[in-house]
Structures are given as structure tokens and as C-alpha cells.
């Protein structure tokens, strides 16, 4: 058995096992790690086909950017909201496996009886070596034949970024940015001042800071500091 075939079977075997792990793992974080393993092996398969640039892109974009994004969202979702995998739904799982096996048989027949052979291109190994390598050759193709598509892709990425920001914003952002008004009391452990709360917010009359040597009885002997704005006390302004 030639060596390239051995390496291919190793890469493909680990890749398919990891892909099965993505589907079978009950913990979503384990699924994400299985997916990283799967994508690394796909990058190895790309190298076997002479697509070194795409192998690097696969690692950077998929296992780097997209997986980090998925893990971030996984952390932002409350774990109590994650549905359980191993419960019920035998019909759904049986239908899924059955459809998968049927599709695999169909695709196998199609691959083994393949008749259509494409027209040979001019990017032979010698031609790619003459340009300087896979990256240089792909760059020449991208910036000549696919220049317009390249620009359109940059537009798609820009729109995608803007859309992601708009969609991920909290729905009622305006309520969060209102200025804070009220009292804080440093004399109490949790910063709650019962007397000031009972008095309610005072809009017109600005609250006066209590003099240092006067200790009201309501605070239980501790000094009460009343400010209109929380930042006023810390001197942040």
C-alpha cells in the first residue's frame, strides 16, 4: 500500500470518527472540540490535494475564528437552557440514521459509476511550481478571473459584520443608558438607605450631603453620606 494512501486513511478515519463525535457527544463543548479535530484533519486532506493555502485558511478561519465564536455563544447561553440529548425521540433518531444510510448508498453508487470527466486545466504541478507555489498561483487566479467576485465577497463580509452587531444588540438598549439617580450610603454594608428610600426620589430639590460631624439616629450610629449622583461621591467627574 503506498504511503499517501496510508496517510489519507489515517486522516479520513480520524476525521470521520471526530465527526461522529460531534453528533454523539452530549456536552456541546465536547462537540466543539470534536469539530476542531475534524477540521484539522480536513486541513491535512487539503494538503494532500496540493491546496496548502486552503489548508491554512481552513485552520485559521474554521478552527480559529468560527469555533471561538461558537464557544463564546455557548458560554453566553445559560446551561439550563440547553436541551438534553439522551431522552426520548426514538422515531426522530431512527429516521435520521435511515435517511443517512440511504443517502450514503445513493452517493456511493453515483461515485463508483461516475462517467463525466472534466476538461483538463492548465494548472499542472509544473505550472504551479513555475509561478512559485500554490499560494502564488491561487492569487493569480483570484486577482484575474475572479476579481469581481472577490470584491463582492468583501461586501458580503461587511454586511455580515453589521448584521451580526445589529442582531446581537440587546433589544431594549435605551433603558440601560438612562442616567442613574438616587442615593447610595457607604455607611451600610449593602448600600441601602431605608430613610432615603422611604422619602422617595427628589427631583427639584438637590440632596445636600450630610455634615461630617452629624450622625443621624436612623443610620444606627454610622455616618450617612447622601449624594445625588453615585459618581459624585467617588470623584469620577
Amino acid at each position: 500500500m503506498p504511503w499517501d494512501l496510508v496517510i489519507f486513511y489515517m486522516l479520513a478515519g480520524v476525521c470521520i470518527l471526530a465527526a461522529g463525535g460531534v453528533v454523539a457527544a452530549s456536552n456541546p463543548v465536547h462537540s466543539a472540540i470534536f469539530l476542531v479535530i475534524c477540521f484539522f484533519n480536513v486541513a491535512g486532506v487539503f494538503v494532500m490535494m496540493g491546496a496548502e493555502f486552503l489548508a491554512v485558511i481552513q485552520v485559521i478561519v474554521y478552527t480559529g475564528a468560527i469555533m471561538v465564536l461558537i464557544l463564546f455563544v455557548l458560554m453566553l447561553v445559560d446551561p439550563e437552557n440547553l436541551p438534553e440529548f439522551h431522552q426520548g425521540r426514538p422515531v426522530q433518531r431512527a429516521v435520521g440514521v435511515l435517511l443517512g444510510i440511504i443517502l450514503l448508498l445513493e452517493v456511493s453508487v453515483a461515485i463508483l459509476n461516475r462517467q463525466v470527466i472534466g476538461v483538463k486545466g492548465n494548472a499542472t504541478a509544473q505550472a504551479i511550481d513555475a509561478v512559485g507555489g500554490n499560494t502564488q498561483a491561487l492569487g493569480r487566479v483570484l486577482y484575474s478571473d475572479y476579481l469581481f467576485a472577490f470584491e463582492v465577497v468583501s461586501l458580503v463580509l461587511t454586511v455580515g459584520v453589521i448584521g451580526a452587531i445589529v442582531l446581537a444588540l440587546p433589544e431594549r438598549l435605551g433603558l440601560k443608558t438612562l442616567p442613574r439617580r438616587g442615593t447610595i450610603s457607604l455607611g451600610h454594608g449593602k448600600g441601602i438607605d431605608a430613610e432615603a428610600i422611604a422619602m422617595g426620589p427628589v427631583e427639584e430639590m438637590p440632596m445636600q450631603p450630610v455634615a461630617k460631624d452629624v450622625i443621624p439616629k436612623a443610620t444606627g450610629g454610622r455616618r450617612l453620606v447622601m449624594v445625588k449622583d453615585p459618581d459624585e461621591h467617588t470623584g469620577a467627574k
Partner: protein, 102 residues
């Protein structure tokens, strides 16, 4: 198949695609369904590169580069939608998203 041919890569691509499809059909967690969709996109990329490798062409690799860029944009928008949905419904279970039905 004693020699490394395009059929090997096509079978790997088919296997990855079908495992991803089974994941989409079986699982109910929206994030895992999303990962399986990414896996199916990668399977299609393997097929494109394999056909280009068979025919000494770089067009397949150029297509895969565009597909990866679109998949990155799709991931950003899709995950933002999942985040907004989980904030509103407090779940990422696809069976919970039945507002139109009720």
C-alpha cells in the same frame, strides 16, 4: 482503488456531509445543528478541491476560498440570531421555537 484517486476524497466528502446531515436531523440543540451545518459546508469544499485536483485546475480552490468567506459571514450572522433567540425564548432547543404555530 489501489492508488489515491479522486474517489477517496469524494467518499470522505460524502461521509462528512451525511454525518452532518444526520446531526441536523437528530439533534435538537441549535448550536450543535449549527456545527453540523459547518461540517456539511466543509464536506462540499473537499469535493470542490478534489475535482480541481483531478483536473489540474485552480478554479475549485478559488470557489472554496469564496465559500469559506461566505461561511464566516454566515457564522457571524447565524450565531447572532441564535443569541437573540436564546435571549427571547430562553432556550436553544429547536422544538421551543414554535411561535408561529401557537
Amino acid at each position: 482503488m489501489g492508488e489515491l484517486g479522486v474517489e477517496h476524497f469524494l467518499f470522505l466528502s460524502a461521509a462528512l456531509f451525511i454525518i452532518g446531515m444526520m446531526g441536523v436531523l437528530i439533534r435538537r440543540n441549535l448550536l450543535i445543528i449549527f456545527m453540523c451545518v459547518e461540517m456539511m459546508v466543509t464536506a462540499a469544499n473537499i469535493s470542490l478541491v478534489a475535482f480541481g485536483w483531478e483536473n489540474d485546475s485552480l478554479d475549485g480552490q478559488a470557489f472554496v476560498l469564496f465559500a469559506v468567506a461566505v461561511a464566516a459571514a454566515e457564522a457571524a450572522v447565524g450565531l447572532a440570531i441564535i443569541l437573540a433567540l436564546s435571549r427571547r425564548v430562553h432556550s436553544v432547543d429547536v422544538d421551543e421555537f414554535n411561535t408561529l404555530k401557537d
